[in-house]
């Protein structure tokens, strides 16, 4: 990186550290911080959408729809994350490839399943085996986002389902007395009021999601915990210009600071959101806000 770093063996103190922290390998961990934040930024809204869909389906008056919604919540919540990540992602990937295989290679005669192998025609591969590396990485990342969203969506669905039932019944009755249809009641009365009940549960989910990112490496996406373990491990002089002992403690300490930072920022954000949502609500929080204004 710097010209002074050409001969690491002669460096000492801060210069050594500066050179050490700017090796290509360390650049990878800085990138992975971005990857993790991007994953969180995309996954959170998508998971919320899954959750909303799941909750609405579970409340449905049409039995098959309600069964799907409740089945989704029960199954995904019940399966351990790690099993889900190892099994489901591979199954999902194969499902995509199978559909593409049926569409793109109708004349293919070999069986798709051969023993342990899953074989589709080359044109149905996802991504194509000729695609450059970044396409593979992006694809892996998107599959990770989808899996995280499905898993956390199920938990969010349960939270939202409960929140929808927590909205005071008198509100719904009043809406109906005003002549609103079910749809209107849902959109104008239920949904705006449920968030305040859902937020504590959702904020917990957000925190769990933040900490769940190490599961990414199971999917081949290199996250910060992977890099911290890799960089912090003992390095012998034969294989690096910057040999050092077991520094995992320092790397994990840096991770601790990072995660605590994310937690703190989230708490501030969620607190503000809660205040906003409590305005005019028939809850203790809403009542406090009303008093603040009137006094």
């Amino acid at each position: 990186m710097f010209a002074a770093c050409a001969d690491p063996a002669s460096l000492e103190g801060l210069t050594w550290l500066a050179c050490y922290l700017t090796t290509g390998k360390h650049m990878a961990i800085y990138w992975s911080v971005g990857t993790v934040l991007l994953l969180l930024a995309i996954t959170a809204p998508v998971a919320l959408a899954f959750g909303f869909g799941g909750a609405v389906m579970a409340r449905s008056h049409i039995p098959p729809v309600a069964w799907i919604g409740r089945g989704y919540i029960a199954v995904v919540r019940g399966v351990p994350d790690i099993a889900f990540f190892l099994f489901f992602v591979i199954a999902l990937d194969q499902a995509f490839e199978y559909v593409r295989h049926r569409i793109k290679c109708p004349d293919w005669t070999d069986p798709v399943r051969q023993g342990n192998d899953f074989l589709v025609c080359p044109a149905a591969k996802l991504p194509l085996s000729t695609a450059p590396e970044w396409v593979h990485e992006t694809y892996g990342f998107l599959v990770a986002v989808l899996t995280f969203s499905i898993v956390f969506g199920a938990f969010a669905a349960n939270v939202l389902y409960g929140a929808m039932r927590a909205v005071p019944h008198a509100q719904i009755e009043t809406a109906e007395a005003y002549g609103m249809t079910r749809r209107q009641t849902f959109r104008r009365i239920l949904v705006p009021q449920m968030w305040v009940y859902a937020l504590p549960g959702l904020s917990n989910l957000w925190m769990v999601l933040v900490k769940a990112t190490p599961l990414l490496f199971l999917l081949g996406v290199e996250d910060i915990v992977y890099w911290a373990r890799e960089l912090g491990g003992t390095k012998t002089p034969q294989f690096t210009d910057y040999p050092h002992g077991d520094w995992r403690m320092w790397y994990f300490l840096a991770l601790l600071v990072f995660y605590l930072g994310v937690t703190k920022v989230s708490e501030i954000g969620l607190e503000r959101l809660m205040r906003r949502l409590s305005h005019g609500q028939a809850t203790t929080g809403g009542e406090l806000l009303r008093k603040e204004v009137t006094q």
């Binding site: 290679c105 051969q114 002089p237 294989f239």
Partner: protein, 240 residues
């Protein structure tokens, strides 16, 4: 259109011996000197040089990807990459799930490393990496097995005192013992394990296996493989 498409597919299959021209090489990146991540963040080591040479000889474009050891076989089978080149010993159990090329490293010896001379490796606590032949050996040896996900952690366990000894490939432990300045030492006898190290492939990828096999044979014949082995593992290494 349908006709053109299917003709194109047929041409594609018939045209090249290999359907793919980019081969993704899966490795662990945590097992020097076999494979590790260098200071620039690139995969390096014996297998990197070997793999690049094999791809050059087989006229393939290769890309390197790293994957956790735990899920390295499932991800191969499901097609996330096309080969495993990660110091993986050829064993019957693995051969049932995937295929191997011929070995590019003769059957390896594993060794115990401890922090003191007087450790009994058949009754103490011995660390090994999960899902390796070494872990299997320790489990049968009478010692208590302590498993870790990465090779580095197995050695760290000995340094921290959680394990009495670590059992791993001799070639992996040698640089660590040398660099430890007397803190760590080899104890007990070396144990020959496994049927040599080979490249793992999906059972259905016979074309790729043949291409790689031929490339390994040619490297064995002209002595370049031996040169690579000596370069990375020292003069003591078994050669072909």
């Amino acid at each position: 259109m349908k006709l053109i498409l299917s003709t194109a597919t047929a041409a594609l299959i018939a045209g090249g011996a290999l359907a793919q021209d980019v081969v993704r090489m899966g490795t662990e990146g945590a097992y020097p000197p076999y494979n590790y991540i260098d200071d620039d963040g690139e995969v390096a080591g014996f297998e990197r040089e070997l793999g690049d040479e094999l791809c050059a000889r087989a006229e393939l474009t290769c890309e390197w990807v790293t994957n956790d050891w735990d899920s390295i076989i499932p991800n191969l089978v499901s097609g996330n990459y096309d080969t495993i080149i990660a110091g993986m010993s050829i064993t019957d159990e693995r051969d049932e799930v995937i295929d191997f090329t011929q070995d590019y490293y003769p059957p390896t010896e594993s060794a115990y490393v401890a922090a003191s001379e007087d450790v009994d490796v058949t009754s103490g606590v011995v660390s090994a990496q999960t899902a390796t032949i070494q872990a299997g050996h320790v489990a049968e040896s009478g010692a208590s097995l302590l498993e870790y996900a990465t090779p580095d952690e197995t050695v760290a366990a000995v340094r921290s005192g959680e394990a009495d000894a670590v059992f791993a490939d001799y070639d992996y432990l040698l640089p660590i013992v040398e660099a430890s300045g007397g803190e760590l030492m080899f104890v007990g006898d070396r144990v020959p394990l496994g049927g040599g190290v080979g490249m793992g492939l999906r059972e259905s990828d016979t074309d790729l296996r043949e291409a790689m096999d031929a490339a390994i044979s040619s490297m064995k014949e002209d002595g370049t493989l031996n040169e690579l082995l000596v370069k990375w593992f020292g003069d003591q290494v078994a050669t072909y």
